[in-house]
Every structure is written in structure tokens, then in C-alpha cells.
Symmetry: C2
Subunit: 154 residues, 2 copies
């Protein structure tokens, strides 16, 4: 391979990366909009959706852990948790062994709402992928798992 | 194929869709966070980034057209445009043929900022995809173009 070929290969990958960045930006914007539309039918805000999603998928955690996951300040997360506790979506629970440790725990109503909202999001994506064969859907899933993995290792 | 097989195939695609929904949700959250980190070094807010992106990629447009693209109320978009005009990122321009039509036009400083921010986003994605071969990058690009296309047709 001549040095010029290496240069060309690099530019081509850069062009592909630029295209992928743009497509993911557009896809995220459409999904964000769709997600807000879905939330219109539920008594939770987008940040509350994010918080409930983490509690559903990772179980009970402290406010500090949740604020790290959500990339939010501790005080912002505390306000968010206060409002959701007031609305009976979750509850603060003291650790049995160390009473100084407080974790937040999803209540039945919080679980019901987050389950339903995620199901609506899945139905939306399912309708988008209705023309995909099972094999194409599997390929997309593999690509998304891989991309997410690379991002976590960053 | 027995009727039970059809049921199984359906469930498998549904499970794949559920996984893809979750992965895209996580990928979007990470990119949103990274995007905000990048914007910390620039004098624009996330909604201003969205507006500048549309003007960069689709050229001059009316406030009505921009508010449709951004899924924002007309009044919200007007406020956004006012602030950016004050900051000399863009300017309102009257249509030469029909002076009642006003379009917004990117100014040099607005273009410089949006070009730089998008380049930073591309650099970030490039580092995430550093282990991808050119062929893998091409496959991801094809998948993202296809997914975006299906979403636009929705």
C-alpha cells in the first residue's frame, strides 16, 4: 500500500464517521420528540422518565448513584426524587445494616408507569422496523450493542 | 412451519426490538451528555445548537419552518432567534421578491461555532469507532441511514 492510499482510507473513514454522527443526531432528535409525545399521556416529566428507567433497570440505588447515572448535580437529583416521592412513584428506604445509607426504591405506581412508557417506545420502534426481517433486526441489535459497549469503554 | 413457530418468531423480533430501543436510549443519553460537555466551551445553549445545525444543513429558512424542524412552538423559536440575532450568530433577511417573507440566515460567527462543535462531535465519535475497520464503519453508516429513512417515512 502506498502512503497515498493510507491517506485516502483515512479520509473515507472520516467521511463515514461524519455521516454516522449526523444520522445519530437526527435519529436521537426524532426519538426524543416521540418520547415526549408518549410522556404527554403520563404524569411524569422527561427527567423523571430517566430516573425511573434507571431504577427499573438497575434496581434500588442511592441518590448519589442516581445522580452519577443521570449526569446531574446531587441537589438536582434530590429535588427530582423529592417530587417523585411526593407523587408516590418511589420511596426512600434505609439500609437494614447501615441505617445511615438511604436508597430509593420504585413503588408499584412508578413501576407501572415506566413499564407502560417503555412498552410504548418499543411499539413505536417496532412500527419503524416493521419492514425489517428478523435477520436485519438482529444485525441492527448487534451494531447498537457494540456501539454502546465502545462508548462505555471510552 | 407450525403455528407455534410463527409465535416464536414474533416474540424473538419483539425481544430484539426491545433490546434495540434500550441500546438507542442509552447511546442517545451518552451522546447528549457528551454534546453538552462540548457546548461548555462555546457561547451557545443546546437549543441554539439545534437551531444552528438546521440552518447549517438546510440553509436559510423562515421561523415557521425552523420551529417545525425543532418541534418547538413558534413563540419559543422566535425567542431563540431573537437571542441569537442579538449575539450576532444569525440575522433576519427579507425576501427580495416578497418583502413580507423573512428568513433567518447564519452569520460568519454562527457558522464558525456550529462547524467547530460538529467537528468536536465527529472527533468524539471517531475516537469511539477507532477500533472499527472501514468496512464495519460503512456497515454502521448504512444501518443508521436506513433507520433514519424508516423514521422519516413514519
Amino acid at each position: 500500500m502506498k502512503s497515498g492510499d493510507v491517506e485516502m482510507a483515512k479520509s473515507n473513514k472520516e467521511m463515514l464517521v461524519a455521516s454516522i454522527e449526523k444520522e445519530i443526531r437526527y435519529i436521537s432528535a426524532i426519538i426524543k420528540h416521540k418520547g415526549r409525545e408518549i410522556l404527554n399521556n403520563y404524569p411524569i416529566t422527561p427527567p423523571q422518565f430517566d430516573a425511573l428507567q434507571w431504577l427499573l433497570e438497575e434496581g434500588d440505588m442511592t441518590i448519589g448513584e442516581l445522580s452519577n447515572k443521570m449526569f446531574l448535580a446531587f441537589s438536582t437529583t434530590t429535588d427530582l426524587v423529592d417530587r417523585m416521592e411526593k407523587n408516590k412513584l418511589l420511596v426512600r428506604v434505609k439500609d437494614e445494616k447501615d441505617r445511615r445509607v438511604v436508597r430509593i426504591h420504585l413503588l408499584e405506581e412508578g413501576k407501572r408507569i415506566i413499564d407502560e412508557v417503555i412498552e410504548k417506545r418499543q411499539n413505536y420502534l417496532g412500527s419503524i422496523l416493521s419492514n425489517y426481517s428478523e435477520e436485519e433486526t438482529e444485525l441492527l441489535n448487534i451494531q447498537m450493542l457494540k456501539l454502546h459497549q465502545e462508548m462505555k469503554e471510552d
